[in-house]
Symmetry: C2
Subunit: 266 residues, 2 copies
């Protein structure tokens, strides 16, 4: 998604040129290209798919909408399995129209996970609940903190349901470091994602995720938290940024690699 | 601030017409009108000033900037006392340019409060730390939760430092109800403010606070929390909303009274 201006073949080629061995994919471009074709493309290029983004949106009250959302999530699990990734990231969904009950919405997510998680396990796919920044609580994700995500995840075995730790969503939270330990000790950090916090936020607050190093987040610090919690998995850079999307995708990818080495792992 | 299109005399007249007996004021219009003149205006109209907004912005590292901010806060205390309110609301301030250390910024707030709170007590003014929504953590307020605000406030006596409970900033937080109890039992709820959460958020996310009843927040529920925590003080409606500011201020005030009765106290 960081370089969504690149087609899937362009992305794969750019990854090869830059010696990027792992890539996180989103469902829409994969579906557009064709699931089996996309799977062959990454396989033939020797790339590993870290995670598939995203399932979720499991908060509907209306039975028909709920069934439709669950169906879509079963398909997302199948897609993840076909791509050879073991992790499907879930953005849980916001409040249904007219509802003001965050707690009930979170409970409906748990109900949906109870149907989804065993199916995912059968396909070799783990679910990663991603807490989104509290500014998305109403319209996108009622799970706003790592603690809430873990409260949900811990109702299931760790190999079925864990969490996605994304700096952009949790950097403000002084409870997050302890929750990362909680997640790590039970083997529930299913992915670690980085994006920086820059201001002013754009209208709708969806497409303002900053390039690493441009914002307020100390990336070394957060990498330290997940490492000390035992995390040895992939690190994904996930930037939604109109400015970056308007640039040459290969240049953005090259810059991102530089920033990653300087600000995250360096 | 809800009807900042009204001049201070227009606001006072509109309050009288609508039988509003209490009003929260902001420093800028008071300074513009003249502090003593503003104090006389509200006094002669028989109005009580609930709080003065706002002091704060106490996170500077640079000694000169820090001293200037403290001076401004001493003045804010004087202004609150002159207006006859016992509460000055503090918006703590964001990260200084180039800093990525939220914890250190919060500690500098505590240092500043240690100078400010005794002075405020001498003037009969309590300080109310207002946690702002986490989306303001970088550029406006490093205090993002009621728990953080109370961690700071509890270093001081309750009659010196408490918190401002504002639905807009904390509605997403499942820990907030317990923190309201924590604040109430130590007598630290120094004001209760309401605004609704509506989406999409505008660019900069400052001026999108929804009219009561238009958004995702169950106001009855939050009034219940503060009441069960023993709060019997004023309830302030604080909306920052370009749409409302563009309308006739007296009509907005009348609508706000209706919404208040329906959605908060009704």
């Amino acid at each position: 998604m960081t370089v969504k201006q690149l087609s899937l073949p362009e992305l794969i080629a750019a990854c090869n040129e830059l010696a990027i061995a792992q890539v996180g994919l989103w469902r829409e471009p994969v579906q557009e290209y064709g699931l089996q074709a996309a799977a062959k493309l990454v396989r033939d290029a020797g790339l590993t798919v870290t995670t598939l983004c995203r399932g979720g949106f499991l908060t509907a009250i209306d039975p028909e909408k709920r069934a439709k959302a669950l169906d879509d999530n079963f398909r997302a699990v199948d897609e993840a399995a076909a791509l050879g990734t073991d992790t499907l990231v879930l953005v849980s969904g916001g409040l249904p129209a007219g509802s003001r009950d965050l707690h009930a919405a979170r409970e409906r997510i748990a109900d949906a996970l109870a149907e989804l998680a065993p199916y995912a396990e059968d396909q070799g796919v783990r679910l990663a609940i991603e807490p989104l920044h509290p500014m998305y609580a109403a319209d996108r994700c009622v799970v706003s903190t790592l603690a809430q995500a873990l409260d949900l995840a811990e109702r299931f075995p760790a190999h079925q349901v864990g969490v996605a730790v994304d700096t952009y969503h949790i950097w403000w939270d002084d409870q997050a470091p302890a929750q990362i330990i909680r997640a790590g000790t039970s083997g529930r950090i299913h992915t670690f994602q980085v994006a920086d916090w820059t201001t002013p936020l754009p209208r709708g607050v969806l497409t303002g995720r900053g390039q690493i190093g441009d914002g307020a987040i100390n990336m070394h610090e957060w990498l330290g938290y997940v490492e000390r919690a035992g995390y040895t998995g992939s690190i994904e850079v996930e930037l939604f940024n109109e400015g970056l999307w308007a640039q040459d995708g290969r240049e953005v990818l090259a810059e991102t690699v530089e920033r990653f080495v300087t600000h995250v792992t360096g």
